[in-house]
Symmetry: C2
Subunit: 76 residues, 2 copies
DNA sequence: TCCATATGTGACTCATAGTCCGTTGACTTA
DNA sequence: TAAGTCAACGGACTATGAGTCACATATGGA
């Protein structure tokens, strides 16, 4: 599985756990709603600045964000 | 401190620990030599695909890469 | 049925990610 | 004095990510 796909899955997982809509999270992260949609669906090769914004909006540390089975076994 | 700066520091730290030159790591990660320099110096807003390539070239898991004090306290 | 909320998609512009050519300076070894 | 390795930088270039929009779809409630 592609890393950008894994990233999207993780974002969606954490967003749903917080009971937020894509739009609410996008607002908090200061990105466009449709951009957030494509990130969650693994369509975007997100750059690290936006990764930081999104993780911060999820109220989780970088460490905790990446510490999950989703990121086991990167194909690349 | 900026996330892309923290990322660069972490890459450099792990690269030196492995005794690799920037060029050797760049070759392994399949990115440009000059690009690796600017990444380590926090000048690049690296996209997640290249983050994956670089971390893989460092022979470390995503989890372990981000589990370090360097990533404590993101300003964003 | 109508309306609001939530999500997804294709296309677009523009800034920049990333490559490839080279140079320079610091350091090391011969 | 070379001659080599390494890190950093720069200019020019191409590929692609950032950011936005119109529009579509699905759902649930009044």
């Amino acid at each position: 599985m592609d890393l950008q796909v894994q990233f999207g899955k993780r974002v969606k997982e954490l967003r749903l756990a917080k009971g937020l809509s894509q739009e609410a999270l996008a607002l908090k992260a200061e990105v466009d709603r449709t951009y957030m949609t494509s990130v969650e669906n693994g369509k975007r090769n997100v750059a690290i600045q936006n990764i930081g914004k999104i993780i911060a909006a999820l109220d989780i540390s970088i460490q905790d964000f990446f510490t999950t089975d989703i990121f086991e076994g990167i194909d690349e």
